[in-house]
């Protein structure tokens, strides 16, 4: 297992921030979700060794977060949530400095700084002072400094915070590339479910310091066989009115698809029968699957219910 949490508990005074967390991640990309105050950032800080757990353990790549804190930090790249830079340093110098702090020689650190800045798209701006950068560029510098020593695990805390749609798209494509082509594992902490959905295979949802859902996103998604999406060729209006007569609730969905909710007594064969009867071609047919948002909201709802009961 690449990441393993065992009964991990973090407490500040009497306040429990992380409550007996258990989770395993074999590698790839893990999305960390949860409402504000759920304990996401505390979990990341605990993994980085900034906060000591009161009980339980966690390990990254077989290294214990308390005993091997320094070794862990040498294989981790951390992109903090808030703006973070060093006064009056250019992007290339900042990265070189960060590389040297990781133990790279000056020559290697300089080479890597250039490489990484070109990779994140700041090659032309690399000699500019980071303070003069826009927010989007600063986000890229933060990502670059996390990458400079070639970490095995990248911890990204809200990487798309305050980015415009173009900036967000660029950042997401960079993260996807890092996961797919650069051989790094990623823990992505975000409020934006779409970011996690686009980048991650696994998800860990926290609420009030507890793990309320964990696992592979695809496996967690529930398929609802009573709600289906169709795309047809033929007389759409007639087909929809026939479906309505048989008790189905129809509406036009995205990209000219028809969303059909079958009544409880009917089965999906009805759709094929009516299509044949009306001489309509069924070009696409798929059942509704839960989105990550559905999963997240359902998990939160269940957690609230169990908490109140």
């Amino acid at each position: 297992m690449f990441l393993e949490l065992k009964n991990l508990t973090v407490r500040f005074g009497s306040h429990v921030i992380l409550d007996r967390l258990d989770c395993c991640m074999s590698g790839g990309a893990l999305g960390l979700l949860g409402p504000n105050g759920a304990g996401k950032s505390t979990l990341l800080r605990t993994l980085l060794g900034f906060i000591k757990p009161v009980s339980g353990t966690a390990s990254i790549s077989g290294l214990d977060i308390i005993r091997d804190s320094r070794a862990i930090r040498s294989i981790i790249g951390y992109m903090p949530e808030h703006e973070s830079y060093i006064h009056e340093l250019s992007a290339v110098r900042l990265l070189r400095f960060m590389g040297e702090l990781c133990g790279l020689s000056t020559r290697d650190a300089m080479e890597r700084a250039h490489e990484v800045l070109f990779y994140v798209g700041l090659g032309e701006e690399r000699y500019r002072n980071v303070e003069t950068f826009s927010l989007g560029m600063q986000q890229k510098v933060k990502l670059a400094q996390a990458l400079v020593h070639g970490p095995k695990l990248l911890i990204l805390d809200e990487p798309t915070n305050a980015l415009d749609p173009d900036g967000r798209r660029e950042m997401i494509s960079l993260i996807r590339d890092i996961i797919k082509n650069r051989g790094s594992h990623v823990i992505l902490c975000s409020h934006i479910l779409k970011d996690v959905e686009e980048c991650c295979e696994d998800v860990l949802v926290l609420n009030n310091g507890r793990c309320i859902m964990a696992g592979n996103i695809d496996k967690l998604r529930h398929v609802d066989e009573r709600v289906c999406h169709l795309r047809i060729k033929g007389n759409v209006d007639r087909f929809m009115s026939e479906l309505s007569e048989r008790g189905c609730v129809c509406s036009m969905g995205e990209k000219e698809s028809i969303r059909v909710v079958l009544p409880s007594k009917e089965r999906t064969e009805l759709l094929f029968e009516l299509a044949q009867k009306n001489d309509v071609q069924l070009r696409h047919f798929y059942f509704k699957r839960d989105s990550l948002e559905d999963l997240f909201l359902n998990a939160l709802e269940e957690s609230e219910k169990s908490g109140s009961s």
């Binding site: 500040f12 980085l48 320094r70 040498s74 703006e83 400095f97 040297e100 133990g103 070639g150």
Partner: protein
Amino acid sequence: MPVYETGYKTRDWVAKGIFYRLMAFSRYTYLQLKGNRRIHTLFVMSWLTFIVALALIYACVNTKLIERFGIPVRILPSLNARFFMVYLIAQIPFVFFFTLAVGPPLIANDIHHKALPMILSKPISRWEYLLGKFLVLFLLLSSITWFPGTILFITGTLTLPGSSNWIMYFWSESIYVLPALIIFSLVVIMTMNLVALLFSSLTENYRLAGVELVMFIIGASFVSKIAAAVFRSRRWNVLSPISNIISIAESLFKVRNTTSIPPALAWFCLILLWAGCILVLSTRVKAFHIYKE
């Protein structure tokens, strides 16, 4: 291969030792200071005293040359422990101004720009971060205190009036000056450095940290003088770190105590000050602060 033809990729490398990594703090601070004219001027001025001291040593061992210019030899200082002590005490204002120029932004800027989580996520601990920051001023202040002081001492002893047994004379009479010179310099550097780091860690604004540093060093001397005048006792000088430093200097160089502070008390006060600074620094320099209910 040009850098623009290489893409980012993870690769294995051998990490350098911790000292190399800590020196990165000094390297980058000096890079930032490289274009600072005030620092350059201050540095040149701080070495002017060295030139003057060197000229005095030359004059002391070439009295005939001085007499030829009609300058009375008796106005020249003696080449003894006091000479080196006075040289180092003359360096204290430069040490103070260097500390004032370089010290306050060291931690304050990192706190202001929220760089601590980013830096401490690299494989260095909080203590190593503090040591790295300490080294920035330590190396700079060393270059104007014990380093030129040692050169002066070596020059002075090598040019002493020759006699067949001058080496014996040197060993018996002056050897304590060298450790005194180094220990005194370290005491000055340690005190200024820790106080500067302390105030730098207490605020996000380096200018405010600078004001606090001035208030502490100058203000404490001022208060001690007032207290000494009001209570008619020079023991109140103990409130001033500078007076404590001078008391230690006088004991190390074996000259008459002018501060009325017993050396043991002066050591105790300074060690207490250093411990206090380290204690506060250990609580202030953290990647994240936890506010307990």
